[in-house]
Amino acid sequence: AFSGFEGFEKRLELHFFCDDPALLQLGLRKLDFDCIHQTLQEVQCTVVSAVGNSYFDAYVLSE
């Protein structure tokens, strides 16, 4: 059967908490890039472009 590139995305949103407010200032943004890279390897994606501001980091991924 003909199969092209699947456009419809899968979307996952995870929220975390911690009782120590000091840990939440940067929180997940403190994760090493190695951790992000290894996580994306499981998904079969890589980072192709990235940008950040004072609120969050945004990555454009392959695929």
Partner: protein, 274 residues
């Protein structure tokens, strides 16, 4: 595909045959062991795949996905719900799974808008093909597509990070203060697809009507679905009011409630005539 990392929130959205749910275990592990953070809620959504038989496990069916998520989640996320929200067309349904630990008011002031479009206008989709041998970087070609298509007019205040794939395809992430937006485009005729997503709040200055109309103008889809997650009903009502004057007719509307996420409204539209 895109990834957004906030201090207490991660959003990852991937297309193709990516195995997105396999990111759960490492993300939960790293957040806990490296940062002392505990998972408090999870939301998984997707449309109906165009090529479902090409999807690898655990994306082989929604049942498989839900089973996989439930086995991966820690037991404290005990308020769980899975639902397939239908439309008039069997090829368009909205799949939603949510889980939350307790009464954390996570989404109460925000809304999420997820727009999926198929059968894009071929002339407009053609703008997402690169010129052969253009010798440009993905960032540079992406910037040109952002300007040429009018994507930079959706939110002129946003900082845009854009990328053009070779030979075709496009992804961009927009940042406007704490609010993100994202677009992914697969322009090939026969299975063309584009998505737009943004978050906002009642207090943010994002004009939903302007945003949705610009998105319709840029892609002119043959079919469009809009999923709105929010507490109130003003956003999804605004969507329908914005789209119909653009020549699109509301074909179906389904609503469901999810623990602590508020309501999800799934609307489908197609042109009055094309």
């Amino acid at each position: 595909s895109s990834l957004f990392v906030y201090p207490t929130k991660i959003i990852i959205k991937t297309c193709g045959t990516t195995q997105l749910l396999k990111s759960m275990t490492p993300l939960i592990f790293y957040a806990h062991t490296h940062l002392g953070l505990t998972l408090s809620s999870c939301r998984y959504t997707r449309g109906t795949f165009i090529f479902p038989l090409s999807q690898p496990f655990p994306h082989t069916s929604f049942n498989d996905e839900v089973t996989y998520i439930e086995a991966t989640l820690p037991p404290n996320l005990c308020f769980r719900k899975a639902s397939i929200m239908p439309s008039k067309s069997s090829s368009h349904a909205w799949h939603v799974f949510t889980a939350t630990s307790d009464s954390h008011a996570l989404y109460h002031h925000n809304y999420t808008l997820e727009i999926c479009m198929t059968d894009l206008d071929p002339l407009l989709a053609g703008k997402f093909f690169r010129r052969p041998g253009d010798g440009r970087s993905g960032d540079s070609a992406g910037r040109e597509m952002t300007e040429l298509t009018g994507i930079d007019g959706i939110n002129p205040h946003a900082l845009v990070c854009d990328f053009a794939f070779d030979p075709c395809g496009y992804s961009m992430n927009g940042m406007d203060g704490e609010w993100y937006s994202t677009i992914h485009v697969t322009p090939e005729e026969g299975y063309s697809y584009a998505s737009f997503e943004c978050v906002g709040s009642r207090s943010s200055e994002v004009d939903v009507v302007h945003v949705v109309r610009k998105v319709v103008q840029i892609f002119r889809p043959g079919t469009m679905s809009v999923s709105t997650t929010s507490l109130g009903n003003e956003v999804w009502r605004k969507v329908a009011g914005a789209v119909e004057p653009m020549g699109m007719k509301l074909r179906s509307c389904a609503m469901d409630q999810f623990p602590d996420s508020g309501s999800v409204v799934f609307q489908t539209f197609s042109p009055l005539r094309r």
